[in-house]
Symmetry: none
Subunit: 415 residues, 2 copies
Amino acid sequence: MRAQIITIGDEILIGQTLNTNAAYIGDALTKAQISVVKTIVVGDDETAILEEFKTSFDRSDIVIVTGGLGPTHDDITKSCIVKFFNSELVHHEEVMQDVKNIFLRRGRKMPDVNKAQALVPKIARIIRNQRGTAPGIWIKKNKKIFISLPGVPHEMKAMIDNDIIPELTKLNKNKDMFIKLKNLLITGIGESALFELLGDIGELLHGSRMAFLPSQFGVKLRITVEEAGEEVAINKLSEIEQKIRFKAGKYIYGTEDETLEGVVGRLLNERGLSLAVAESCTGGMISNRLTNIPGSSSYFERGIISYSNVAKVEVLKVNEDELIQNGAVSPESAKEMAEGVRSISGTDIGLSVTGILGPAGATKDKPVGLVYIGICDDKTCMVEQFFFGEDRLLNKDRASQAALDMLRRYLLGIS
Amino acid sequence: MRAQIITIGDEILIGQTLNTNAAYIGDALTKAQISVVKTIVVGDDETAILEEFKTSFDRSDIVIVTGGLGPTHDDITKSCIVKFFNSELVHHEEVMQDVKNIFLRRGRKMPDVNKAQALVPKIARIIRNQRGTAPGIWIKKNKKIFISLPGVPHEMKAMIDNDIIPELTKLNKNKDMFIKLKNLLITGIGESALFELLGDIGELLHGSRMAFLPSQFGVKLRITVEEAGEEVAINKLSEIEQKIRFKAGKYIYGTEDETLEGVVGRLLNERGLSLAVAESCTGGMISNRLTNIPGSSSYFERGIISYSNVAKVEVLKVNEDELIQNGAVSPESAKEMAEGVRSISGTDIGLSVTGILGPAGATKDKPVGLVYIGICDDKTCMVEQFFFGEDRLLNKDRASQAALDMLRRYLLGIS
């Protein structure tokens, strides 16, 4: 099956918004063994939209459209669908109830303009939207499938994952090449050092493909295996993964959509350990990431963002004289902050971060990018020194990632 | 002049790489008053590429292609151009020297495969590449322009900025239409309620365009004015903005690339006020956002993430009996947390958030999505109640946005 993706919206055309929707759908279809042959972006213009509907529906088996389903005047996708399929808009009571419930849950009055969300093309089957007011639209005609989804990313993603991909997978059963993908999530080593560590890539892959996808959080290694026979593909992928783990295992914190904070949370839960965090330069990012995980209250007790020195002394009980002598950005302060937050919270572990993330704050001896991370338990403390870059926001990402990874390695007993 | 952008590359189609090139070019063309009418992505496939060349060149005045100009076997854009224009490849000595110089500068031997980079379509004018080996290609035919650029973003960007846009601007001189854009950043009101508040959109815009771009952080209103005469366009844009501000001004926190945390930081700085934050359900996100702003240490004193009730009592001095009686998620607790964090920190303002963000934690009376936000200064406290959605991470975004916006309105004295 061949698919085309159409994104509707001036904001994408003029470069104000990146087309993350098309990338998400392209990725999901590829994983479901459906070839994406073309992606198109057009503006909020009826003639242009109708023309793309025609060309794409003529040329492919599946067309997935996103955008233009909202309740306001610039949302014209639904009227274009009705014209294109020569159908009409009819009231759909289930959709009306879904929309009303959304406003009810949020304790807000439903503006009248939302009544139009319950009007759907007569020819369509509805895909319910659990997160917003615009339902998805599924039309089957001439053995082809036309799908229209809202452009709000989290609404679209839920529908792609829960409805569209499972349905399309059922329809796409007869194929002979099997593509299997695996993403290994790596941190604490740079892209080129990782490349060297892995050695001969050709020998490693034997004709399969691998991409290095670096970011401030680490490197994602994406392995793609394509074989005739599903089992062959699965076995080959597993073999490649094992070889990589043998060489770089300690840097691999997870796979696919796992997060480092999720991995750390699972380890804390498994070991029945509690955590308190003292942050200076990261300003709450580490605690924020840890509390993104549902159930984190069972191990995360509190976080102290001791941005001022007064807060370090008053809340964390850091010794004031030593703080002045060593400076807030020092291994000694990192240790005292980790000890302090552990002691006031009564947790098993204290984690601390202090550093200079820029643009200001550097001294002769302490450059922008210098960060100390401390971990204390009831027996011992350890502090590590890091040098990151110049950019404040990237440095926050890097420092929070390094702190969570140091905690991961501490919990696993690897250094 | 109307332009279309074609991006060539499997990695974009299957969602491994975001199409940042098309966004960059779309933005640059729009600023140069050239309308982008369509963006297309196709894979590394000759038939598909030739077909898009034909359709796009038929339908627009300018076609800009990126990708597929590298020296390896999967780069086929150049051979497609030769076929499409019925031209031939010829050796270009200046390009050859440029390529040799690049390897010379890097102290590396030039691999033979790079000789092919000096072969260019006879029909083309060359755009020199200062940063890589693939030259850009500029072809004029039937008063239309066809441009092909390398896909490496920094190479492409340099050529767009230094060569393509200046040239196209010269050609586009006799235009009489001026496009002006403005983005208004809005929060605290839903898309459809905002739509109703603005009233008759046709009357408001008088032929100009406006898009509603919603997210969990609010709504971005993008106004586009296109007029004969630059001053006319500027005046009309300003008139529309004023009308919107008259009706919805209190919800508008900024324009263009501003952030709410940046706006709040500026207001605190201007008023010489200091802030401490007590977060429960948002887990550090508010403090994290505030400290994203360089110089935030001048007003942000500390943050307390009182995730456990013990932390609320011990650190924030919330009354334990009342906490048990009212529950941690209550207007009383929000008030006590804001008062407490202000009092222990000695700041002018205390801000607090407590709520149930899901998936667990709901009770019979308190649903997932219920959040209380408190603000205290030395004279008074205020608490507001919010109902957000079901998704934990979106709720963190929404709650942090609502808290920062409540602080903004407090600082501006608007309710």
